[in-house]
Amino acid sequence: MPLSRRRFLSLGAGTLATAVAAKLAFSRSAAAAHPTIDPGTDGHAVSTVCEVCFWKCGVEAHVVGDRLIKIRGNPRHPLSNGKLCPRGVGAVGLAYDPDRLVKPLLRVGPRGSEEFKAVSWDEALSYIANKLEDLRKKYGPESVALFNHGSGASWFKHLLSAYGTANFGAPSFAQCRGPRDVAFELTFGSDPGSPEILDIGHSDCLVLIGSHLGENMHNTQVQDFADAVARGADLIVVDPRFSTAASKAKTWLPIRPGTDTALLLAWIHVIVTEQRYQRAYVEKYTSGFDELAKAIVEYTPEWAAAETGLDAEVIRATARRIAGAAPASLVHPGRHASWYGADDTHRSRAIAILNALLGSWGHRGGFFRPSGMKLAKVPTPAYPKAKPPADRREGEAPFALEPLAQGLRRATLDGQPYPIKGWFVYGTNLIQALPQREETLKAIQALELLVVVDVLPAEIAGYADVVLPEAAYLERFDDLVPIAWHKSGVALRQPVIPPPGEAKPGWWIARELGQRLGLGAYFPWTDVEGYLKERCKLSGIDYATLARDGVVLAPDKPTVVEDGLALTFATESGKIELYSEKLAKAGFSPLPKYERPDGVPAGYFRLLYGRAPAHTFGRTTNNRLLGELAHNDRVWINAKVAKDLGLADGATVRLVNQDGIKSAPVQIKATERIRGDCVYMVHGWGHTAKGLRYAKGRGADDAELVSRVKVDPVMGGTGMRVNFVTLQKEA
């Protein structure tokens, strides 16, 4: 009977003594007669920038003949250091995905029928340009909205700004990192950025609040994380799930979902009342400490213990450890932060305040401050003045930093404050990226124009009037990619292989549309490489070096106080605002407040979701090279709970949420690694688009079950961990 390749093989202890003592039992003369094989995969290496996620690592793509064979990290790029995550390595599977969009498509059936006819580029672009002219005349240019993700969107932002709209709604704000960015802007005057400016590699204590580094595979961050773990840094992981990161931690705090703010407030309580904060730093750089100290008195560890299900003494002890490592003590700000709505900005503010008390902002092992590299712009005419975005009502979500994607959807549905009639969707599968799918589908049916620009036919493409096949990042130039890291600089995305079929790069599509709309003056170049060379020239960057090395670095400047950095804060007071006058003036609590999450109804589980190392949302799930990897399309459920429900590991169930929405059949992962009051899924599975022939029908779609949200009143984020599911066994 063949052994299973994936079965667990027990480990036994060995020692160097036995290892070294073992005599090699081979004959050297016999060995010499045998050949070894070189697979010949090195080829010609082209430096470019990855776009499988948003981290933007420099890569080297190896081409043999005319075929892309392998992708590796660019050793010269500070975000890669020659290393790469599985998605970046596996992007060969994206380049040669047999389901790629290769021809412009015009819809022939009803929206969502996925019925199209292939048309010429000229026909597709003329159709769009005519519709855009029509919309401009009927409703004004602001009636067109762009939903986007990824760096290639810059061409379409430019085009649509020139056209006259400011309605750009990236789900990466209100459905993701918005609450965090707003909280840090309010506190420090700037946000943690992307990639996050975290010096994890030098942290002596690292706290993760739900961040599952290692499953969340942001290359440099994981490199630094591994270094911190190897150095023996004190790692404290707060997560209802025993994540990979939790398994590396000195302390895992299996918190009751949604109560993180209570824990953070108790940590602040201990650090303030026991005077364990960085006194000189706090005195020099912060404002509002006295108000904080007064407000924090009530948040004792005993109070937090009752909320979080954690032990009060453990809360106290971990607070002391966190403070003891300051200022090289980092409470990770997380990334996806739209969890519970009302609580989200407050939670992120509590994280920001904690970091301020630790003095970690600006110190080695905390938040470093990259200088960035100044890039000149190629001059183009000024954009026409556009109406303010349609996403918010008067007084709503006053601290939003970007238009709210769900707000643009609402304006599409009710025409307030003015009508939205056309959508451009670039690089985001809105069907899975937005919560409350029914609203999205209704809005789509109300549109007069829906254009989707993408590389694969995800669900959203099935609703488009026109689908424009884009060259994947391995097949195109994009605008210069700035690097703001320990070393700052600029990187170049350039084509490695030609695009498949008739797919075209985004810059070409935007420019062609611009010319058809009479906006040719905004694209004063014929080919993008000319534009890039001009921009490099204006910026004092040698283009030939950039094209060869993939990256040009700026001279080193200090990024932490230890190296001579002077700390400044772009807040109104010029200080770190522990107490926020701005929030107070707008009628919000100026200090973080805890709001207890709704309880889990009997028989239900809170639906939690997250990431797996080989996947970026739904966009990698059709990649055959990645799809074969570890079974992360299962729903995690506590092993004992599963047993009580009569469900064995691997059993097939459907998840049914509080509104009766039922998922596709999905297997369960019965495991000790999760609390009994929640279930966990990796986001991005459960595709239904028939064009995704590999991904379709694999796993279940968590987003479909997010039919309810709680909106953060401060900044409009949609808290999505407020949904509950039951498990129905499939026959």
Binding site: G14, A31, I37, G82, P86, K248
Partner: protein, 177 residues
């Protein structure tokens, strides 16, 4: 010379970049793997342990695949690694039956294939594909006979294990941490 691999389980997060890198480096066919990641959970909530291990051919010193190969296709290379001579391999699978680690598969072209420890790269002074790409720097290859090598120094520090030592194969892929 004795080429060995040392894998740091403390660093490894099980991301499988090593798996994808190996597949693209070595033209491993669809559905087949030369390396893979094993995760095992021990204990009960909340006292848990997670073991994550990137596995591959152990390039055993007592390699049953070499002993059991009827054609001499499986052999020890001069660096001590176990290799397969494709021209001599008939695809009979005797090696596969004798390997306690299930490290081998039959290539569609008719020969048996497995991890070569990227012998073609090591010969050029480059790291293996999995070592090169690993974001956590968990994988290290080197000459155990060289007392100054990183692998030698790391193994000397102890806390070392191998997969299935009871099989008596004396693996040369070591796990630490």
């Amino acid at each position: 010379m004795r080429r060995v691999m040392v894998i740091d389980m403390k660093r490894c997060v099980g991301c499988e970049a090593c798996v994808v890198a190996c597949k693209t480096e070595n033209r491993v066919p669809d559905g087949a793997y030369r390396d893979w990641v094993v995760q095992e959970t021990k204990g009960e909530l909340p006292t848990l342990e997670l073991l994550i291990r990137s596995q591959r051919c152990n390039h055993c010193t007592n390699a049953p695949c070499v002993t059991n190969c009827p054609t001499g296709a499986s052999f020890f290379h001069v660096d001590g690694t176990v290799q397969i001579d494709r021209d001599r391999c008939t695809g009979c699978r005797a090696c596969m039956a004798s390997c306690p680690y299930d490290a081998r598969y039959v290539h569609p072209d008719g020969f048996v294939d497995k991890c070569t420890l990227c012998v073609h790269r090591l010969a050029k002074g480059k790291p293996t594909a999995c070592e090169e790409v690993c974001p956590t720097s968990a994988i290290l290859t080197g000459d155990l006979d060289d007392p100054t090598s990183l692998v030698h120094l790391r193994l000397k520090r102890g806390d070392v294990s191998v997969v299935d030592p009871e099989a008596g194969t004396k693996p040369n892929v070591f796990y630490v941490g």
